[in-house]
Amino acid sequence: MAAQLTKYFKGGLGDLRALFDAVKNYVSVVVGYRVSGDAVGFGPVESLESLPLGLEDSQAPGAYRLSRGSSGFFRHSHASPKYWLHLPVQEVFTVLEDYAVDIARYDTYSAALFGIKPCDLVSMEVLDRILKNDDSYWSRRSKIELVVVEECTVPGATCFCGSIGTGPSASTGFDIAYARLSNGIIFKYGSEKGLRILEKLELTEVSEEDVAEYERAIARAGELTRYLPPPSEISKSLERSVSDTSFWKEVSSRCVGCTNCNMVCPTCFCTEFVDQIEPSGRAKRVRQWFGCLSHTYGQVAGTHYRPELYMRYRHFVLHKFLFYPKQVGLVGCVGCGRCITWCPVGIDLREVVSKVVSRYGS
């Protein structure tokens, strides 16, 4: 894929604005990490000002802080594209008094993603493959006509995309990517569409030095985020660990089953259904995100298939590194580090995985 990217462009913040405007003209809604108040979520972005360009996040296991300052570099918040593509709460249908079924309408506008991170880009591919049959997901997913990625030259302290190969640069599945360097912004394209848009902007040619600096920055970021052995090694070790109950009990001993990791993970997709009925007989069926760390996951009438928390925690980890590859041919963890940052007790997935590998690796 990388060979396809023969051409880079260079520009500044002004050009980013021009790109934003060009993208905005292209679709009816631009979606990305959106600043609202003192938080960053994920949703429609009106203008470049609503993007977290002037914010810096600092992340650590169980800790997240945002600060202002133009020199800062923003990675991501708890909110991933999942918030836009796979709605946290969605109505499925309403059944009227006479049992007529009224299907919930999904909105249908063309959209562009702007500024999303390489890890989140890959997470979309994972979701695409897992949610093949999901109309509500595809009603939004299929409307995404343009993807602009911001590559990470300054990764965060919980990021480990380099270990998985999902970042810090984007290699496929995007139209345009840009990276912020010390002396400007490097743009590249990933599709013909992207190239056409970039060509219309008044960008300068890149020098060899620029390209070299870009590559250095990406390589450095890649190094910084390479904590773990290769995913194949991880899967193998996990496979050997499954029946080591005491190991899984130990690594999950601080877990309180709050499901934050599930909710913030860009590839966790499980949902539950909630049914409501009014005295009039009108009923509603609602679907909502659901975490495998919660007690109900695996519970059935009369018995429970994962009654203990360590079983559910083990499922979370196995799913990412062992089962996802079998299900969709991709590692389910994209190395974004969200589950580490947003875990209120600060359980570090990297540590757990390292332990598995050191104990069960070849």
């Binding site: 499925v92 249908f93 059944v95 049992y99 007529a100 079924v101 299907i103 949610l131 093949k132 049959n133 999901d134 109309d135 997901y137 595809w138 499954v242 029946s243 109950t245 997709f269 499980c270 949902t271 539950e272 259904f273 049914d275 409501q276 009925i277 007989g281 009923a283 069926r285 679907r287 659901f290 495998c292 109900t296 996951y297 695996g298 519970q299 059935v300 009438a301 009369g302 298939y305 994962r306 009654p307 203990e308 360590y310 079983m311 083990r314 499922h315 196995l318 799913h319 062992l322 089962f323 996802y324 079998k326 299900q327």
Partner: protein, 275 residues
Amino acid sequence: MGARLIPKVGRVVRVVEEAPLVRTYHIRVEDLAEPQPGQFNVLYVKGFGEVVISISNFRYEGASAIAEHTVRTVGAVTSYIQTALNVGSPIGIRGPYGRGWPLKEFEGLDVLVVGGGIGLAPLRPILKHISRYRDRYGRLMLLYGARRPVDMLYKYEYGEYRAIPNSTMLFSIDMPYIGWSDYVGFVTDLIDRVSLDPEATVAYVCGPEVMMKVAASKLVKRGLREDRIFLSLERRCRCGIGVCGTCQLGHLFVCKDGPVFSYQEVKDYLAVGGL
């Protein structure tokens, strides 16, 4: 792209009391594709939710389909079905879903059917299928166990099953009961009481998971191939089409990769508690 989670509205046309807290509902619905034996539908009761229920029998009546579902009352939705659904009641239904019993592939072999309790429901279509295409299969052996005699399903059909040529039928109950002259004990014990040609037998098993595990390992010991033993598994199952994620067993989705699996596919997963 259709709206895949939307039920069609059908109507209950007959209710059969099978056993305490178990009833078979005959549901008429237009425009339902013909299921494979072992597939299931998702039934929806307005305002209370959905449940995944095997199709225990199926036929067309004119343009409309009649699907039979044998439901045991255990939790919220099934209780409501038991309380409120009667002949004439509307009910939502979607399906058929899942991978059913592989039957065509094993034509020519002897067929061993092992059922426990409500687990006979998804096996019933196999019996119907074999009785219809009798000459395509070898011997038919049905081993069926329940807690008590009164808990046995489809009692009114046993005559019909027995009439299938070249078939054996063995029954068991868990505890002795007055008037019961068949076997008392686990249904899996019955496996020891049938003669099997391990080279030429396929087994279809459904019941509580422990029972299926015991049955499978016994059959393996008797020399059956692991890829000729089929189990119909159960997990928390909400959507039926592989999008809600709650039915995962290892990398398998019980609803779309199963519910029927060969023992070979799942034995490693089943061996680990709580996977």
